[in-house]
Symmetry: none
Subunit: 146 residues, 4 copies
């Protein structure tokens, strides 16, 4: 498999919103990026606030940027705030350190892209991102207990 297709991205978006409906969360926004960090698809549910695209993308972009989930970058931001700030600056403000951004991997472990979700708590955002990846039959790294 070379890269995430638009069809796979749509499947992930449907999976994200299905999980959100099940959990009765606030309106969510979700991006799917390819392995190069390029946007494949984005949707925001009605009632979302205005910076949701930037936040969703920032979670996914950061995950691809350093090869971990955005939850791990949030933890890093507590421990080494100036380092994470340097990543934010180096990426022209494209990294957002909060849970909800997950790498997408194939069965061999290769990174195919990332999903970023925002709108509810970071823990719930991450749950939905994981559900989206699962809906597409793809994998992410094990998510620590949130």
């Amino acid at each position: 498999m070379d890269s995430l297709s638009l069809d796979q991205a749509r499947t992930m978006l449907r999976g994200v919103f299905a999980k959100s409906a099940e959990l009765q969360l606030k309106p969510l926004a979700c991006v799917v990026l390819d392995a190069g960090g390029i946007l494949i698809a984005y949707e925001r549910q009605d009632g979302s606030s205005n910076l949701r695209f930037e936040i969703a993308r920032g979670k996914a972009y950061g995950a691809l940027g350093v090869g971990v989930s955005s939850r791990a970058i949030a933890t890093m931001a507590n421990e080494r705030p100036v380092f994470v700030q340097s990543l934010i600056d180096a990426s022209n403000g494209r990294v957002v350190p909060a849970a909800g951004g997950l790498l997408v991997r194939d069965a061999s472990g290769r990174v195919l892209g990332a999903v970023g979700v925002t709108g509810d708590t970071s823990d719930n955002d991450e749950r939905c991102a994981a559900a989206g990846i699962e809906a597409a039959g793809l994998l992410t790294d094990p998510v620590p207990n949130a």
Copy 2:
């Protein structure tokens, strides 16, 4: 109601400055943004310092950006400083995390725009923003005790 009109924005500005006169505050500056974060009206009272527009807009823009008052963003900035910094950077410096920015809602709860006030203490700024919204017969979220 479709969107905040210029007439409504003027009414809010008058309400902000009337409250400020009543409380005998320092010179204030006030923006009214529509739901998309676009500027409808701005006024600064004589004697205001030079970054007041950027501060007033940053409070209102941030409120619209994440769907809460700018007071809530200020609280978030204490708890998760790098995350809030990432919002500032993702918005090209358009988010200012300090009380004084309030969402404007209609009776059904829909967000119509935001008001941002600066010039006195953040608590007093917020009081005036709330007075402006009330003067226009519109609603904001409950303001925690300042």
Copy 3:
């Protein structure tokens, strides 16, 4: 009608890609923005190049920025290049002067948002944008013969 919904945006995306399939065009990318210029939805077809999101958004954002189609901004760019460059700079590079961005209006003429399409010739991009708007039962300004 308050604002473009996600459902309406999806209908427009489907309409854009249906027209593209009918005309056998190259891979397209399409954004739908709300009236404030905020992203509601985006999809790029497989095989799209890397700046397609920025181009699609820039067409739609420019249309909302000055209240005309991005074709009109492209014409303006020929006649008054430095003026259009100043709009690009004033918007932090968010205006792209090329056909393919169309305002979305309701029956009363009110602007509800904009669609931006890129990937084939500008004329074909614009045809697809118009088809997307029509698919959602909405209106745009008359498109000059391309």
Copy 4:
């Protein structure tokens, strides 16, 4: 007289919109800047497009920047495009070379600020800006026949 007051700025805004109503123009947006280029007041009429603040400010800011009307800067942009582009870049995109921005002077010729208007043709925008300055009993430089 030290600087434009908020009262004077409001009088200019009223004068701009009164002239616009008389001429039956499209919705206008208008800024008033003080001599340092700092925003005193802004209003946009209902139905304005989204970049109107940036355009109105860019006309007034440019006028203050080089000490002439923005019409003169537009002429300069035709004759020396790279020079005017360098002004745009040097000001971080804050100069917009199009008629509609006028210096505000007192009787002694001292610059007190500037008015910038946008929304209709540049010529009509400039007519309204001049009417606003006149309404406040202040002066601008002679406007060439538009």
